[in-house]
Structures are given as structure tokens and as C-alpha cells.
């Protein structure tokens, strides 16, 4: 019964969303505030409706209603309750509802803001967000219904449908469900999809405002000012989603790395690339009134890549370890993509003449020029990624030959581009808006550059002779020094002018100029992450050996001795939840005992294995050992694979600092004590909200 109710509510929500689209367009054409208001209220109704429907679904999930096909597929009796709840987004059908739910929440939030000065945007923001929401609800309603029951057709095949199709018999209630894929039971995997979806969904908001600006012809930078914080929030979630996904891969996939350049990973990275470029280039428009075309293109591209990436991973077009099972939503998704791409491009072309810039570039070294260079590099990485993902498709269609585009291609192609971005991160913050010369820039930078060079030379003699690593370390040191010196100088100024102590000065400095210093914190965090990425890519070593009890592996400075292997079933509620193979390994460094590691290889009843590494983490790096059980292991002889991943933890440290940096930048700003770097024009259009 509850399933029917949940489905019914979802259907109602779909029509409410359609109504709000129709009413918003009609109200705008008739210039009727009342009808637009009605559209707005309809849109506000969406979130409560979807919440109700989702509540039904969660209830079914938690209470083992295995007659519902989705519940049967993603839960089982042995799963703890919190996992049953998170199974909501563990499968295609449920995750579509989850998407719609998040989307409606964000759309509601944005429609609740004060619209006094932006009345003309309102109907079109409603149109874009409601269409997107309606689309995702529609997919759940018509193609992937999470509430559908299972029926046997005449041939004995199981069909999924809400109501009994003619000529079928109900499937008897299964005793237990299939259960969530064990790989998805990791904490990282529980939070990773919501983060990613939140990022995707919140990028729809700036896109909606951009579309509204194009449609209404109000093409000044108002839409950018309104959505600035939304963009940062979107970026925060997307970044957090990517990081959590990486951590998950590192912890449970057992291949010693965190990023495999898999098409699905790249599909999530691509909107991040354009989003990051957008965050930078909107600053130019805000401060200098330039690049209006470009910002429009970037936000459209970001939205398009969000939708396109979701499509690629869910339609079965790309084959990948992460991809959802093939499903029927492909054609509908394709139609949606076609319509949004074509409409967006047509609108930009139509409004092109009105988007001309207001000021001119003064110098090739001005900050805006360097930001443009930054954009070029981000776009270049995007081109490489996009082409790498899409080319196998072309190859298969043209020559019938399947090909794999793997990590070596991406690493080689994007490595220099990332290095270029790092270099820009070093010099751009010190170049002035409008005008910079080589001399002024040189004067500001040479000390940091020399210091970074000294560090690099020291590293050359003490740590590594690898050219790529040294280049990387030079850039990292350079950017860190430049950025930290900026912090230092500004804090010093504050200490002197306000007679504050160092910490207070730093605190108020950052607090009063959140965007600038939040940005710098993000740059610092990027450099920390770069240390980790460089470490694992350049210095990773590994070995695989089969050990008898008491034998050891020596790798780098470490010795790993195989003590014991225990094999036992793990019981939950009297049922075998998984079969555990757990090895015990003592780790020592240069003969000094460090710790005992327990690499595991768990096999779930459905045969799905999970490789959990034994990890010894320090700032110097990780010792990552896996039980290579697929080669067969016993208490007497077990194969182990050991990775030494130098410096990898800087990646995670950097990630935390990174999120902290975005929070600083996105936190609502109060009145500024020092004049913030807004141009006069910005003041005329008044402060941003």
C-alpha cells in the first residue's frame, strides 16, 4: 500500500513541476505577478512532496519490503538500518528520486530569497529548475520506478511494474533481498554520491540564473552576483564528492591508488574543471566588466557536463566499473540533453551582441590576462579528458574496434597543464588588476622564486633526482611561499595598524576579506594535495611475493613479516554476512618494529570480494599492503602485494584544508573594514548578496 502511495505522490510531484513550468512561462508573458507567484508556490510544494515520497521509500527499505523490486535489489536482512537508509541512493531508481529531492531542495531555497530587485529573473529561474526537477522525477515515474513490484510473465521472466500487467502472476515474497553491493558499504561511498549529487544539483542554480539573464536580456553581471555563493557551494560539494570518492577507491578497491582515470571518474571531474575556471573568470567580470560571453559559455558548459556525465554513467553508453547497470532511461536522457544544449547555445548566440565587455585589457601581465591563461589551461585539461572519454566511442563506431584510453595517456597529457596551473597560482595573486609589468611582478616574486629554488636544490641532494618531481616540488614551494608571504605581510600590516596580536590579526584579516584569503587557503591546500599526487605518481613502488609464515618482504626501508592468517565467517544475526580472510603482518622500519597490519580479503555470500588494505600512514607516506587472495591463500602460504605510497597523506590533509578554504570564501561577508577590492561600478550596483 505504502508503495502505491509513494508512487502516487511522485506522479503528483511530476505534474506539479510541469504546472510550475507552464505557469511561470504564462505568467511572464501575461505580465501577471499573481500567476508567477502561483508557479513559485507550486515549485515550493515540490520539496515536501518528494520528501513524502522518499519517506515512503525509506520506510519500505528499512522494513524489508522485498516485494518491492528496488528494496529487493539493494537491501537484505543482514544490513544494519543506517545502510538500509543509504541504500536509497545505492541503485539507479532510488538515486533518481534522491537527485530530484536534492534538486527541489535547492530550487526551493533559491526561490525563498528576496526577489524585489530581480523580479524579471524569477519566472525563468523557476522554469529552468522545475524542468530539471520534472525531468528527473519523470525518469523515476516512467522508466525506473523505485516502487515497482515484481511479476512473472508467461515465459517465467521477472518484469517490474507498479500494477499487475495482464497475463502475469505475482512473484512470491522473497525471503531475503540481494543486499547492497558490499563495495558500496564503505562510509566514503555512503557520503560520496550525495556530495557529488549536491555539487551537480547546486550548479543548476547559477545555470538557471544565467539562462534567466539571457532570456530577459538583463545581461549585466547581476546574475553572477546573485549566484556567486551558490557557485562556491556547488564547487564545495563537487570537490568534496571527488575527494571522498578517491578515498573510497584507496580504501576498498585494493589497487594501491586513488584515481584510475576511469571514464566515470573523469565524467565527475569535467564539470569540476569548468566550474573552477568559471569561479576564476567571474571575478574578472565582477571587477572589470569583461568576459561576459565567456562566463556564459562556462556556466552552460558546466551544466551541460553535469547532465552529460550523469547520462554517460547511467545509460550504459560507456562501460566502466562504476557505471550503473544498463537501463531504459537512455533515450529520454538523450532527448533532454539535446534540448538543453541546443536551447542554451541558441540563446547565447541570440544575445551575443549584448554581452560585449565594458573595459579593455591593459597588459598581458595583468591579473585578468593571467586568469584567462588559467582558463585556457583548465579548458585544455577538459579537452584532453573529454576526448579521452569520447574517443573510444568514435573508434568503436568507425572501425568496430574497442580501445582503452588509460592512465598513461591522461598523465602524460595533463601533467604539464597542471604544472602550468601551479605556476599561475604562484604569480597571479601578485599581479594587479588592470595593469602589471614584468618589473613590478618580478620585484614581488623574485625572493620567493629564489627560496623555492634553494629548497629544490636541497631536495636534489637529499631526496630525489627525478626531474619531474623536482619541477613539481619547485612549483609547490614557490606557490606556498608566495601565498604564505602574502598572509604574513597583510597580517603584519594589521598588527601594526590595529595593535593586534598575530593570531587576532590573522583572524580578523581573513574574516574581513574572506573571498581573497579563502582563495589563498584553497591555493595552499591545492599545493599540499599536489605533494601527495606527485608523491604517489612519481615515487610509488610495489612488490608482490608469496610468503610462508615467518617469511618477510623487504621494500624500501620497510620489512613486512607474515605472522598468521585467519579465515572465518563473520556472523550477523545468525547469518553469514561475509567470509573473512585476515592476515597478520608485522611491519618494521630499518629493523625497528612499528605496528601490526591486518590486510583483509572478504568474500560476500554472492561471491563479491572486497580487498581491504592494511595501512600504515605517516606524513612520510603510506605502507599499503593487500592480501592478494585471488591467487589463493592459506595459513601456510599467502601472496601479498605491498605498495609504498610516499607523501600520499598530504593529499588528504590538503583536501581537508581545501574544504575549510571554500567555507571561508563562501561564508557570508559582513561590512569590510579595509576597502575590499570591488570596483566603483560594483558599488553602483550595490553590494553583492
Amino acid at each position: 500500500m505504502l508503495a502505491e502511495i509513494g508512487y502516487g505522490i511522485l506522479v503528483v510531484a511530476f505534474f506539479v513541476a510541469l504546472y510550475s513550468v507552464g505557469a511561470a512561462i504564462y505568467g511572464d508573458r501575461k505580465k501577471s505577478a499573481a500567476i508567477v507567484e502561483s508557479a513559485r508556490r507550486a515549485m515550493l510544494l515540490l520539496w515536501p512532496l518528494i520528501t513524502l515520497s522518499a519517506a515512503c521509500l525509506i520506510y519500505l527499505l528499512v522494513t524489508n519490503h522485498f516485494e518491492v523490486s528496488f528494496v529487493y535489489e539493494v537491501t537484505s536482512r543482514s544490513m544494519p538500518t543506517y545502510l538500509k537508509i543509504t541504500a536509497w541512493w545505492g541503485g539507479q531508481a532510488g538515486s533518481l528520486v534522491f537527485w530530484s529531492w536534492l534538486m527541489s531542495a535547492f530550487a526551493s531555497l533559491v526561490t525563498l530569497r528576496k526577489w524585489d530587485r530581480d523580479r524579471e529573473f524569477l519566472p525563468w529561474v523557476i522554469v529552468v529548475t522545475s524542468i530539471t526537477t520534472a525531468f528527473f522525477i519523470g525518469l523515476a515515474v516512467f522508466y525506473e520506478n523505485p516502487f515497482a513490484f515484481m511479476w512473472f510473465d508467461k515465459a517465467g521472466q521477472v518484469v517490474k511494474a507498479m500494477f499487475q500487467p495482464i497475463g502475469t502472476t505475482p512473484v512470491p515474497l522473497p525471503a531475503d533481498g540481494n543486499g547492497l553491493n558490499p563495495l558500496l558499504r564503505h562510509p566514503g561511498m555512503i557520503i560520496h554520491p550525495p556530495m557529488l549529487y549536491l555539487g551537480f544539483v547546486s550548479f543548476v542554480i547559477p545555470y538557471a540564473f544565467a539562462m534567466a539573464a539571457l532570456i530577459t536580456g538583463r545581461t549585466d553581471d547581476r546574475w553572477i552576483r546573485i549566484t556567486r555563493r551558490w557557485t562556491l557551494v556547488a564547487w564545495l560539494f563537487l570537490s568534496a564528492g571527488l575527494v571522498l570518492g578517491s578515498r573510497w577507491a584507496y580504501d576498498v578497491l585494493g589497487w594501491g591508488g586513488f584515481w584510475g582515470w576511469d571514464p566515470v571518474e573523469i565524467a565527475a571531474l569535467m564539470p569540476w574543471l569548468t566550474g573552477t575556471a568559471f569561479l576564476h573568470s567571474v571575478m574578472i567580470q565582477e571587477k572589470r566588466g569583461m568576459l561576459k560571453h565567456w562566463n556564459m559559455i562556462l556556466i552552460i558548459l558546466t551544466y551541460a557536463l553535469v547532465i552529460f556525465g550523469t547520462f554517460l554513467t547511467r545509460s550504459g553508453v560507456l562501460s566502466s566499473v562504476h557505471a550503473f547497470a544498463q537501463s531504459a532511461i537512455g533515450p529520454a536522457f538523450f532527448a533532454f540533453i539535446g534540448i538543453t544544449f541546443i536551447t542554451s547555445i541558441a540563446l547565447v548566440i541570440y544575445r551575443w551582441p549584448e554581452l560585449r565587455g565594458e573595459t579593455e585589457m591593459k597588459s598581458m601581465l595583468s591579473r585578468e590576462a593571467l586568469f584567462l591563461l588559467n582558463n585556457l589551461l583548465f579548458m585544455s585539461i577538459l579537452v584532453v579528458c573529454f576526448w579521452g572519454v569520447i574517443f573510444p566511442l568514435i573508434s568503436e563506431l568507425v572501425t568496430g574496434q574497442k580501445i582503452t584510453v588509460g592512465p598513461p595517456f591522461y598523465l602524460r597529457a595533463t601533467g604539464p597543464l597542471f604544472a602550468g596551473l601551479m605556476f599561475l597560482m604562484g604569480i597571479a595573486p601578485l599581479s594587479a588588476w588592470g595593469h602589471s609589468t614584468l618589473t613590478t611582478l618580478g620585484r614581488a616574486l623574485w625572493k620567493s622564486a629564489v627560496a623555492a629554488l634553494v629548497i629544490t636544490v636541497i631536495l636534489f641532494f637529499t631526496y630525489t633526482k627525478n626531474a619531474i618531481a623536482l619541477t613539481g616540488f619547485f612549483l609547490i614551494a614557490f606557490v606556498l611561499l608566495v601565498t604564505l608571504v602574502e598572509f604574513w605581510r597583510a597580517t603584519l600590516a594589521r598588527m601594526k595598524s590595529q595593535n593586534e596580536n598575530f593570531l587576532l590579526a590573522l583572524w580578523t584579516l581573513v574574516g574581513r576579506n574572506r573571498r581573497r584569503y579563502g582563495g589563498y587557503v584553497i591555493h595552499v591546500s591545492m599545493m599540499l594535495m599536489a605533494i601527495g599526487i606527485l608523491g604517489i605518481n612519481v615515487f610509488q613502488i610495489d612488490t608482490q611475493q608469496s610468503l610462508s609464515q615467518g617469511q618477510s618482504i623487504s621494500i624500501g626501508d620497510y620489512t613486512l613479516t607474515f605472522n598468521d592468517l585467519k579465515q572465518f565467517p563473520n556472523m550477523v544475526n545468525g547469518q553469514e554476512e561475509r567470509y573473512v580472510n585476515r592476515a597478520e603482518i608485522s611491519l618494521s622500519e630499518n629493523g625497528k618494529f612499528l605496528t601490526v597490519l591486518y590486510p583483509r580479503y572478504d568474500v560476500y555470500p554472492d561471491g563479491q570480494p572486497m580487498t581491504i588494505p592494511g595501512l600504515y600512514s605517516t606524513l612520510k607516506g603510506d605502507v599499503y599492503v593487500i592480501l592478494v587472495n585471488w591467487e589463493g591463500s592459506s595459513a601456510n602460504l599467502a601472496p601479498f602485494k605491498v605498495f609504498i605510497n610516499p607523501l600520499i597523506n598530504w593529499l588528504w590533509i590538503g583536501s581537508i584544508l581545501f574544504i575549510f578554504g571554500i567555507l571561508i570564501a563562501a561564508w557570508p561577508e559582513r561590512e569590510a573594514e579595509l576597502v575590499t577590492a570591488r570596483s566603483q561600478r560594483a558599488h553602483q550596483t550595490s553590494a553583492a548578496d
Binding site: 584510475g260 591593459k362 579537452v383 573508434s395 582503452t404
Partner: protein
Amino acid sequence: MEFKLSNKNLRITFFVLLAIALAFFIASQIYRPALAQNPTPTDDEVNRIAHQLYCPVCENTPLDVCPTEACRQWRDLIRQQLSQGWTEDQIKQYFIDQYGVRVVGEPPATGLNWLIYVLPPLIILAGAFILFRALRAWTKSSKASAATGSEIEAPKDEYVARLEEELKKRK
């Protein structure tokens, strides 16, 4: 017919023997790896090659860390080939011949596949060119307008200016 050890026959025999010896020598030079049996390749030697291969059963997962039975067989085959003295290139080529170019992470730059290496740099260069031209056009036109008298004060980064001022003041 009786074989007479005549002068002529001797000479022929000598040359034939020489040719055979030479052939053996050359063959042993070419196939030296084949003769130098490597009795038990280590896991690391196997993995070094396996790491560069992708089995079609588990797409996009390198062979050295793929837990499926199919991949285990592939690794066994690599081990066998190594113990027979095959070189890395020979092994990779064998897998390409057997299972198609999809087994390597970087498609060989032949036929249509060279597009994958050529197109991104071309697009990036085109992008760089467009950016450079736009920048030059902008700076030029601003210089031109400066020359005609409508001098525009370089907009100072007010925040930085203020910061510098304060730093100077308090020194």
C-alpha cells in the same frame, strides 16, 4: 651411388657445414632470449607487464590488480611466456593479436587512433592562438584609445594599494 671424397665434394661439404654453423650462430644470436630460459619469473616481473594490460572482462582495471579468474589466467600466461624467455614487447604483441588493441592502455598511434594524440594538442594550440589574438587586440585598442587622449587610469587594486600604504606608513 658412392660418395667420393673428392676435392670438389670436400669443398661443398665444408661450405655447407660453414653455412649451417653460421645459421646456428645467427639463430642463437636472434633467439638468444628463447634459449636463456628464465625458470621462475617473480610476481613483480609478471606484474610489471600485467600493469600495462587491461582485460576485456573487467574494463579499465589494470591486469595486475584485477581479481577475476580470467585475469588470473592471463597473469599465468604472462608468467609462462616470461619463463619461455619472451620479451615484454613480444608478450604485449601476443595479447594485442589475441584480444585486440583494447588490451593496452594507450592505443597504438595508427589509423584512426592517431587522432587521439593529435587532436587535443591542435585544439589547445587553437585555443592559445585565439586567446593570444584577443589579448593583443584588447591591449592594442586600449593603447590606441590612450593615444587619442582618453587616458584611462589603470584601475588600482584598491585593496593591495591600501595594504602597501599601510605597510609603508608603519615601518
